[in-house]
């Protein structure tokens, strides 16, 4: 097959390759330290409550942005919840934490745990898009060996059949 003009331009173009490898060591901060400590040691998930509007936030943070009130009260939230949004990813991605390609397909969703007013991204065990739906009940599957990170939850398991 003849080379297209675009391909010719690309072949002839001079380019300088540059590999950027940047390492960071992020502080967890007080809120994450408490959250992940609880997750690692007790397999429990915590949120913080706004004293003004009573919203419970997961992830925890210093202030409720809606009321601008300091969130000091820690409350446990369930390890069960509902899917706010969900998908099965087919496009291969480089996992930024490992530099390796994440195997596809994988389930990925926004999960709102019972007791929390906000939701969080996490993986789903299910990889068939026909077996997941918005509103579906799910439960966190904890790893036996936990290190204090969100991956201490391996993924979420769906608790009911798809509609």
């Amino acid at each position: 097959m003849a080379t297209t003009k675009a391909e010719v331009v690309e072949q002839k173009a001079l380019r300088i390759p540059f590999r950027l490898s940047m390492e960071y060591e992020y502080a967890l901060g007080a809120h994450a330290e408490r959250f992940f400590g609880e997750l690692r040691d007790h397999g429990r998930i915590l949120g913080v409550r706004c004293p003004s509007c009573n919203r419970v936030y997961v992830p925890p943070r210093p202030v409720c942005g809606i009321c601008y009130a300091e969130t000091r009260e820690w409350v446990p939230v369930s390890d069960e919840g509902s899917l706010v949004g969900c998908t099965v990813v087919e496009l291969p991605f480089i996992d930024p934490m490992t530099g390796e390609q994440r195997p596809v397909p994988y389930g990925f969703a926004m999960v709102r745990l019972d007791g929390a007013d906000t939701a969080m991204y996490h993986f789903l065990e299910e990889t068939d898009p026909k077996r997941i739906h918005v509103g579906q009940r799910v439960k966190a599957v904890f790893r036996d060996q936990r290190t204090g990170s969100l991956l201490d939850i391996q993924h979420f398991r769906t608790l009911e059949e798809a509609r």
């Binding site: 496009l91 906000t118 991204y121």
Partner: protein
Amino acid sequence: MGRKVGIVATGQTKHGPKRLDVNLRELITEAVTRALEDAGLRMEDVDAVFLGNMEPFEGFMFPELWSVEGWGGYLKPSVKFNTGGTVGTTTTMAAYYYVAAGLYDTVLAVGFEKQSDGHTQAAITTVGDPVWERTMMAGAVGNFAVMASTYIHESGVTPEQAAKVAVKARRNACNNEYAHLQMPNLTVEEVLASQILAHPIRKLDMCPQSDGAVAMVIAEESKARKLAPRPAWIRAVATAHEQQYMGDSPKRLAIMRSQIAASQKVYKAVGITNPRKELDVAEIYEVATYAEMAMYENLGFCERGHGGKLIDEGVTSMNGELPVNPSGGVLSTNPIGATAMIRVAEAALQVMGKAGTRQVPNVRTALATGYGGNAWTDALILASN
């Protein structure tokens, strides 16, 4: 409020997947030169330059400083912004405020990105908070797929309706000599047959990654009147940001708090109560087909849940009641540092009557929006008076 401020000229590069014929500085120069020519100005006539770009996409810190001659910055005041997808509108708004404040009379706003220089998906993944979100990130595609699923659940929009949005965009782009993706014969069937990236988002539902730049000349009233027969006056601007994490607004696309708030602010500022009727054209920042329909609802173009109906009825097509994205939108062109500013430039072209074959007749009032960050919104109203 401050002085009246108008957009008097624009310049864009030919946006494309890989502009291998230019380096970053040359890409910027292409847009800036065209804007100055359009205005009939020389660089000496420009008081200050405002720049927007997302450095991680080029793997280059202060790329604008390296490119300084490319935008005529030597010994000129300049400020650089970085706010994600909204950076183009953020930068436009900054230029507006400085001129309205009387600090400068004639300025350049420039947005640029050379996605092909770097690794787009990696730089999007690092948008995720490293402690709470990054491990889970599945790029813009995964994010939009999850958001789309919520919107579909709320509204019942169908893949066919989404495909119609894709067709409208890529066909509109054929009237835009600068657009990256131009597909005159695209059909709904082709969109529905394109590769699934993350359910329900297919390849043709998503915006591309582009190399491109845009520049606009913005001036205070008396200078603007001399520079253009019909300036696009910046009548109202608003920004609304969000809480910190991506799940804080769980229905974040379907019911986008920031978009509702920012658009309400600008409508109120100019006395618009029925945007569908009172706007003549809109250039909105739609990253994916489903997002465009959700935005119709958030921006008040239709009732909740009727985003799909609007596209079915052709209300937002070129000869509809409120054409949306005559330029082809983000779905056709997406150099992230420029994209939101391209919305403003295209809306300005419409108001100025300089939009060529994509001109909507008799435009007096236009809306331009930016989207980015954690579902943040910028909104601007441009008008002929």
